[in-house]
Amino acid sequence: MMEEWKESGPEVVKRFMYVNRRAPYGTIYALECLEVVLVAAAFDQDVSVVFMDDGVCQLKKNQDTTGIGIKNFSKTYGALDDYDVEKIYVEKESLDARGLTADDLVIPVEVVAADDLREIMAQQDVVISS
């Protein structure tokens, strides 16, 4: 069905936003949201990704998961650029609250204040949060 749709060409381009609000480990939400984004990027839609609340920790540099025996998937965020996912927003307040800056993150991002992020969210057609 997906192939049929792709062959016929997209009639509409919608704005899809994926919102990450949880820590990278402890639950599977961060990993499975990343899997969605990488698939979604194959569709010719307007894709953006948001990291806020504990979700900003997903992008933290120098993650080491050897102590918990779970795969460190933080390098995979680097693939977002290869998939032409270029709109990556990180909420400034969430970074500040955790003592982080954009320099602490594994990929280049656009740091936005909560007020501005609210406006960007309001412009979306589809918001998928996890």
Binding site: M2, E32, Q45, V126, I128, S130
Partner: protein
């Protein structure tokens, strides 16, 4: 209105699937259309026909199955999320089908609104 529904939790630990089911029933009663229900994360457990809740409890696997077959609603279980949780065709309840994440994106494109039910 044409709705897409995303269910991100299983039938027991969280209320998300109950809420999604009730939303779907209410939407249909009002004459709306459900384009697709997509089950992701632990939501894939909603399709497991081996699930046997106690008889005095609601059975969401059976309820979704009945809703899907009676109204011809496309109930899609994400293959990536399903395989790592042991959900395969041989345990799939009637009315569900396993497919890829593209089906979620496509639901977002085709539906007027995609409503997410999660924790």
């Amino acid at each position: 209105m044409k709705f897409g529904i995303l269910v991100n939790e299983g039938p027991f630990t969280h209320q998300a699937s109950d809420s999604a089911y009730r939303f779907a029933v209410a939407a249909l009663a009002r004459g709306h259309e459900i384009y697709r229900v997509f089950f992701y994360n632990d939501g894939v457990y909603n399709s497991n026909r081996l699930s046997e809740p106690q008889t005095d409890d609601r059975n969401l696997v059976a309820l979704w199955s009945k809703l899907g077959t009676e109204h011809g609603i496309d109930l899609v279980v994400c293959i990536a999320a399903a395989l790592r949780r042991g959900i395969k065709d041989e345990v799939l309840k009637e009315g569900f089908r396993i497919s890829g994440l593209g089906q979620l994106v496509e639901a977002g494109i085709q539906a007027d609104r995609l409503v997410v039910f999660g924790d």
